[in-house]
Amino acid sequence: MEGMKILDTGIAGTLESSDVMITIKKHSGVEIELNSIVEKQFGRQIREVVRQVLEQLGVKDALVVVQDKGALECVLRARLITAVYRSAGLAEVQWEVFA
């Protein structure tokens, strides 16, 4: 699929325990700002997942701020995908990309 373009700031998620709040902004290149209560244990893995999802969506330019409260990986993926779609101004998620 054609890469998605970040047009606006997008937010998804909450700051509650076991969730994650993702903020995506326009940027040149991909950069991740991670702040997690389990950074020491899972920081590397979280960044890996974020990069992987962005790659699947073809996002090449974005600043991703991840405020993690111990979210499971599936939650992280879901929040991130939602945030990307919101910031790209799209409503319909093309789930087949992730199949």
């Binding site: 700031t9 700051l15 509650e16 325990s17 709040m21 903020t23 702040n35 405020q67």
Partner: protein, 368 residues
């Protein structure tokens, strides 16, 4: 728990917020636009408020959680709701005021400290790079970055100085102060306040200062942005607030200047225009004169430039302008300002000036 978004306050919703705030000795601020209130009651009603947080512009403040529900994570609900609501309003770069002892709570909710005034207040922002990017943008204005650009007559034993001005609009008084400061400094950075709460637009104020000092080779004019006398760092400058709030905001603004901005540009001296009229500015000046020298930054106070025995003030220029007394304006402003005021392009400001003279403006920037 019932979470309620209040985007326009009534007496009743404000009373709910104040009930929670009072427990923490936090005062309600009059510029609050909206709030989140959490009630400890069954769904469908609004009784027993236990937590609240409010916003004004892109600033989150007046946050409080009742002691009997502390530690149950209500702060995360407040911040989640506030961030989402402000996002819908198109505000994503958020600032947050809190007590220094609560810094850690908000650090875990994505806010990064900008500056703290001991025992009084901490200012934070949700953009991990906000202040850093700002300081980097300042560095682009740095004199000397272009190599040996300083004129040969420059004297490196003179200080690198800064002055903050509003210039609403630019007068001969501003020009005189900037001229004197430039002659006593190796380099001078003129920060023009970019908060759009003055009668003249920021872009016009900035342009006139640039035009008016372009003959001074060691002067750079730059937009002050969010971190110098803005609604973020110094909200009480723009409204009538209690003395203690003003004092802590003045100290906060001063702390950001001495700890972050001055080092970024190598500033060792700050010039202040003497303030005979406005108590808020006078108090700010006193705070600067007290705190900056402790950080090794000299503070020089320059008296007002007088014309015909009267200190030149921008408010006089505005008054004369609105009365159509162009010869009167002529005597108080440099050519660039006169041409602008005389061109018709500045007429948009007439309405605003008129409103301020006849209305009760909270704080008309005293002087500048």
């Amino acid at each position: 728990m019932v979470i309620r978004l209040v985007s326009r306050h009534t007496q009743e919703t404000q009373a709910d917020c104040m009930r929670v705030l009072n427990q923490q000795s936090i005062t309600w601020e009059r510029d609050i636009e909206g709030s989140i209130v959490i009630y400890d009651c069954p769904e469908g009603m609004y009784e027993n408020p236990v937590a609240t947080g409010s916003y004004s512009g892109n600033v989150i403040k007046c946050i409080a959680v009742s002691k009997n529900v502390a530690g149950t994570g209500l702060a995360q609900n407040l911040i989640t709701e506030l961030v989402n609501e402000l996002h819908l309003l198109g505000r994503d770069h958020l600032f947050l005021f809190t007590k220094p002892e609560n810094r850690r709570i908000f650090a875990e909710l994505g806010f990064h400290p900008i500056a703290t005034v001991h025992n009084l207040v901490t200012l934070m922002e949700n953009d991990p790079r906000g202040l850093k990017d700002y300081l980097r943008s300042l560095a682009e204005f740095r004199i000397g970055n272009e190599g040996a650009s300083l004129s040969s007559g420059s004297n490196t034993s003179l200080p690198v100085s800064a002055i903050v001005v509003n210039c609403n609009p630019f007068t001969l008084g501003h020009r005189a102060i900037i001229g004197q400061a430039a002659s006593e400094s190796s380099a001078l950075y003129v920060f023009v306040v970019t908060e759009d709460s003055s009668e003249f637009r920021t872009e016009d104020r900035l342009r006139l200062v640039r035009l008016g000092v372009q003959d001074l080779g060691n002067v750079r004019v730059l937009p002050a942005g969010s971190y110098v006398i803005s609604r973020q760092t110094f909200p009480s400058y723009f409204l009538k607030s209690e003395k203690i709030v003003q004092e802590s905001h003045a100290r906060l603004d001063c702390t950001i200047f001495k700890d972050s901005i001055a080092p970024a540009l190598g500033i060792t001296c700050r010039y202040i225009g003497e303030e005979p009229f406005c108590p808020v500015t006078r108090n700010y000046n006193e705070v600067l004169a007290e705190l900056l020298p402790l950080a090794g930054i000299e503070c020089r106070i320059i008296p007002r430039f007088a014309h015909a025995g009267r200190a030149v003030s921008a408010s006089d220029v505005r008054r004369l302008f609105v009365m159509g007394d162009m010869p009167g304006v002529r005597a108080l402003v440099p050519d660039c300002t006169y041409d602008f005021l005389n061109s018709g392009a500045a007429d948009y400001a007439l309405q605003r000036i008129f409103g301020d003279i006849h209305g009760q403006q909270a704080h008309v920037w005293g002087s500048d």
